[in-house]
Amino acid sequence: MIINHPLLGPRDAAEFVYLGDASLIERPDGFGENAEDAMYDYVYLRDNPAGQHRELWYHEQGDRSWLVVTRNTLTHEITAIELARDVARSKGRSR
């Protein structure tokens, strides 16, 4: 596979490490209300769609950025690639 890195251009996916569903960015507060329930969903349950999938790739053998890749799990077509840090901020994550 080829991942078109937003900063570096097209790179072989072999340079990357795959983590999983991009919902892993939305970590619940581990100290808040119903933390255990929220964290159970976060850690263990997946949509696992047959189609569009937003997922996390880490450019370990590159610039070490985490990316959110939108990829079709039936065709492997990639339609969007964002820096995970920007996605995280857009989800309201900060400190």
Partner: protein, 967 residues
């Protein structure tokens, strides 16, 4: 050594004569010959035996689709099985033998299978060999296995080298026949970066085998002219002997280039290079493959595809027979007649199946003698040219989701469905089977791609040619007569097997393939799948497209496993990491052990020591009573800086880090989000904003990855920055009661008294008169200990200087084994305990976990099964009989309990011999362990035939209060 069947013409170099051997017989050939053309030239017709019935077989095709003529090349370690004689270039000294026969090729004992064939029909083996049960492994299976298989492996390491490579292009053109050459010319002229790859050693494809005219030249000559023009373009890369074997995601293609297979001497270069080709577009110009017609005994040596007959006559200057009969269901096949006559070869019969003529049988067990017509006529022929029409080579188009679609007009499947993105098919591969149209289509395809990619250079005109008459009728098999009619020559699948498969309900194409093994041979059914499908369609009274389609899996033709592995074999399987003291250690008797990618000294043997235990015991004693030194560079080191680093670490570690003072080190515990411990290590604070984290050797990369995830994805606005310094610092652990005295010598002006530099202190300093260094007072051994780090370039000098300075204290280097013994004595957990199944409670660190902050792993610590009161806890173990050596992996049982899983109490994680205690000791996880010190248990290890009694004790076998390391 004359070549009886050599005739005039052809693209071979008659000026040079090559010698080669087939089945120990010396024969001659010329450059430009394949092994197949050379064998035919020499009058050799019987070249192999079929897979199941061991039927005599000859040469059937002139390309990589060959199902019959599989031979073994070379001898000794280089023995290479299952090689298609039709693709092997002859070189001086080539050594080839036939395969898959017991006894000689001519007299194969296993030919008896052919007589038993009525009882060996499709799937017979699923219906018997079941009684008595024990006979399967002992008798039936060994017999079947030794009869099955094709060629042999030598059993010795492959002596050749293989390499990998990476290529990038705008357009990859697959196949250099008329379509591929035309497309390459247009694309090249337009200024695209072009790669043109062809599996053959001579570009031109069918043009080399036919007598057609392109422009005003013979096709073969035009092809060479085209190659000439392409060679002159520096934006075009021509790759002969290169098979594009697979289409992968996003325009990535796999290609195998045979670099030295055709040479007598490889000159120490790799035999083959496996290229990964990254393309923006690909044009599939793979041409088409001719198929046969099934009729009685259509598998005799001498029965050959019509196009192959033309290839041998026109390209190789070889007469495949002296009296040739032609059977065809299309006009293309009829051209064979003209080509043969033009070379003065007798055509003994022309059978046009469209006129209701057909063959019912042939004779000539080891070489065709005659063919039998339906009208009873019997015609002498030593070669039969068969054309059942052409099937476009759709293979790569179906490697993703493409499902070929049926075209009645050419009675064949053409690429359809979702092709690999970026792939366009042109020419015969696309079902365009006549020359002028092929050239036009290829030219226009390349033009379109050039425009797409914004290149507008002049592409010139497509070469002129005429469209020959190509009329074909869907005639697949002739089910008259009793004789078996072969569909899949290599796997011996007959029309009867296909109809039986239908009868037994295996009617989907995939069931048919799996049940009869149709198309599962080394040719993936290139010449047989269509026939099988047609026969199945007829049996089920459906049309061919209703019955199914033909899809193919990579590779297009088989690729050596060695080529996929490339250089990664033997010692080069993976890179090796060395510690800064490696050279010094090997000079000083160290033996080394693989620790992940690292090589570490495991112990340092001294003269007179009887084995590793002597060395390790000595190293432990010397360290515990004096001072020892160990290279600990392999521990992961991460430089962490930024205003928010303390806050960041407080989220990463399960224990508190917010208030770690500058100049101090703290032990930290990292959990996964599910609450399980996954790494531990110490982190030092060098300044308000500067920390240095150490990780275990095994998890250095993983921890770094997780830290990047935390700082980019979870807390993106913290000012935290990471860089690995694992390789930058040579770090040594100096341990033992005399370590302070030694370090005081090594370190420049720094007060190391317990007051000035207590346990868990750290400082930047210099050593040996000015070399920058970092000093940490931490201990893994449990002794008074320091870790001293210097820039890696000084590492070798440092260990030598330390040994010199330490002479007066009898400084003793120790390896990973002694390190292991001391940590087990001390009850420190390591990899064997932190195996990803362990939570903090199990190792007695539950209280260390902070309960008043959020951190990774905080929320899932207290689920019911994690807080059971019979949970596993770390304990120490001692043998009741002090002479017993405990073994790791033993399970614990209560005395008297049965030995089954229901009564399993835990297991032994680590063991060592403690020189200080004079006995074997262990660590282990035991249900309710911490309440059970003093109990006696069974340590049960049937896998090592050990069953001994042990006493449970504290995991801290020595100095439980930790006075030594604080002293």
């Amino acid at each position: 050594m004359n070549q009886p069947n050599r005739i005039d013409g052809g693209q071979i170099d008659r000026a040079t004569t090559l010698k080669f051997q087939f089945n120990e017989r010396w024969l001659t050939a010329h450059p430009g010959d394949t092994l197949a053309s050379a064998l035919l030239a020499n009058g050799v017709r019987l070249v192999g035996r079929s897979f199941k019935y061991h039927r005599p077989r000859g040469i059937f095709s002139a390309g990589s689709e060959e199902p019959n003529a599989l031979v073994q090349l070379h001898k000794g370690a280089a023995l290479e099985p299952n090689t298609r004689a039709t693709t092997v270039e002859v070189f001086d000294g080539l050594y080839a033998t036939s395969q898959n026969h017991r006894g000689s090729l001519e007299y194969d004992f296993l030919a008896v299978n052919d007589l038993l064939s009525p009882f060996l029909s499709a799937g017979f083996y699923y219906k018997t060999f079941m009684w008595p049960r024990a006979f399967w492994e002992k008798i039936y299976e060994p017999v079947i296995r030794s009869a099955a298989g094709l060629g042999r492996l030598s059993g010795k390491p492959d002596p050749d080298a293989y390499d990998h490579g990476y290529l990038h292009c705008d357009v990859l053109i697959i196949g250099a026949g008329p379509a591929g050459l035309t497309a390459a010319l247009a694309a090249g002229r337009a200024g695209l970066r072009v790669i043109l790859a062809d599996e053959d050693f001579r570009m031109g494809g069918r043009l080399n085998a036919e007598t057609q005219v392109v422009g005003d030249m013979e096709g073969a000559a035009w092809a060479q002219a085209a190659v000439g023009e392409l060679t002159s373009m520096n934006n075009v890369r021509l790759m002969t002997r290169t098979t594009v074997y697979g289409a992968y995601d996003h325009g990535t293609y796999g290609a195998l280039e045979r670099m030295t297979d055709h040479l007598s001497d490889s000159g120490d270069k790799p035999r083959q290079v496996l290229w990964r080709v990254y393309s923006k577009r690909a044009i599939l110009c793979a041409g088409a493959t001719e198929r046969s017609i099934a009729f009685g005994n259509n598998d005799r040596p001498g029965v050959m595809l019509a196009g192959a007959v033309r290839a041998y006559v026109n390209r190789f200057g070889v007469a495949p027979g002296r009296r040739v009969a032609v059977l065809t269901n299309n006009n293309d096949g009829l051209r064979t007649v003209d080509d043969l006559r033009a070379k003065g070869i007798e055509v003994s019969a022309v059978i046009d199946a469209r006129k209701g003529d057909y063959l019912v049988n042939t004779t000539g067990r080891k070489g065709l003698k005659s063919v039998h017509l339906n009208n009873g006529r019997r015609i002498e022929a030593d070669c039969l040219a068969v054309s059942g029409g052409w099937s476009p080579n759709v293979h790569l188009s179906s490697h993703h989701r493409g499902r070929p679609i049926w075209r009645d007009d050419i009675a064949a499947f053409v690429p359809g469905g979702e092709l690999p993105p970026g792939m366009i098919v042109a020419g015969a591969a696309n079902g365009t089977l006549t020359l002028a149209s092929i050239l036009k289509e290829a030219h226009e395809t390349a033009q379109r791609i050039a425009t797409d990619l914004g290149k507008s250079g002049p592409t010139g005109e497509p070469p002129k040619a005429s469209d020959e008459d190509f009329a074909t009728a869907p005639i697949w098999h002739i089910n008259k007569g009793k004789q078996r009619a072969w569909v899949d020559l290599q796997n011996d699948v007959t029309t009867k097997d296909v109809t039986q498969s239908h009868r037994e309900g295996f009617r989907s194409v995939e069931h048919l393939k799996r049940y009869t093994t149709l198309g599962m041979a080394t040719d993936q059914g290139k010449t047989s799948n269509m026939l099988g499908l047609a026969v199945m369609a007829e049996a089920s009274g459906k049309t061919i497209p209703e019955t199914g389609t033909t899809i193919f899996r990579p590779p297009y033709s088989p690729v050596p496993i060695g080529a996929f592995a490339g250089r990664a074999r033997g010692k080069d399987f993976r890179p090796t990491r060395r510690t800064p003291s490696h050279d010094w250690a090997s000079e000083n008797g160290a033996s080394f052990v693989e620790t992940g990618a690292w090589l570490r000294a495991e112990w340092y043997a001294r003269p007179g020591e009887r084995g590793w235990r002597d060395s390790v015991d000595r190293e432990v004693k010397a360290t515990r009573t004096g001072v020892g030194i160990c290279d600990v560079t392999t521990l992961g080191k991460i430089d962490i800086q930024g205003r928010d680093t303390a806050e960041f670490l407080n989220k990463i570690y399960a224990n508190a880090f917010l208030k770690l003072p500058v100049g101090k080190v703290r032990y930290g515990l990292m959990l996964r989000e599910d609450g399980t411990v996954y790494d531990d290590g110490t982190t030092a604070r060098l300044s308000e904003t500067h920390f240095v984290m150490t990780t275990t050797t095994a998890n250095a990369v993983l921890v770094f990855r997780n830290l990047e995830f935390a700082r980019q994805c979870l807390w993106p606005d913290l000012d935290v920055h990471l860089i690995s310094t694992t390789d930058a610092w040579a770090q040594f652990s100096v341990a033992g009661p005399k370590s302070r005295a030694l370090m005081q010598k090594a370190v420049d002006d720094l007060d190391l008294s317990n007051e000035a530099f207590p346990f868990m202190a750290c400082a930047a300093c210099t050593v040996f008169g000015g070399t920058p260094a970092r000093l940490f007072r931490i201990s893994f051994s449990g002794e008074l200990a320091y870790e001293i780090a210097v820039p890696a370039r000084y590492g070798d000098a440092m260990i030598r200087a330390m040994m010199a300075a330490g002479e007066e204290f009898n400084l003793t280097p120790y390896g990973t084994e002694a390190l292991g013994v001391m940590r087990i004595e001390k009850g420190h957990v390591a990899g064997n305990e932190l195996n990803g199944q362990t939570d903090a409670r199990m190792i007695g660190l539950g209280k260390m976990i902070s309960r008043n902050k959020d951190f990774i792993g905080a929320a899932l610590l207290d689920r019911p099964e994690q807080t059971r009161d019979d949970g596993l806890q770390l304990v120490g173990l001692r043998p009741i009989d002090a002479n017993v050596n405990l073994t790791a992996g033993a399970h614990f049982l209560n005395p008297g309990d049965p030995a089954d899983m229901a009564h399993d109490q835990g297991w032994m994680t680590s063991v060592a011999y403690s020189p200080e205690l004079g006995c074997s000791i262990g660590l282990g996880f035991l249900k309710r362990g911490s309440e059970r010190h003093g109990e006696t248990l069974r340590s049960f290890s049937p896998i090592r035939a050990q069953d001994v009694m042990v006493e449970v004790c504290s995991p801290h076998h020595i100095d439980p209060e930790g006075e030594r390391q604080r002293g």
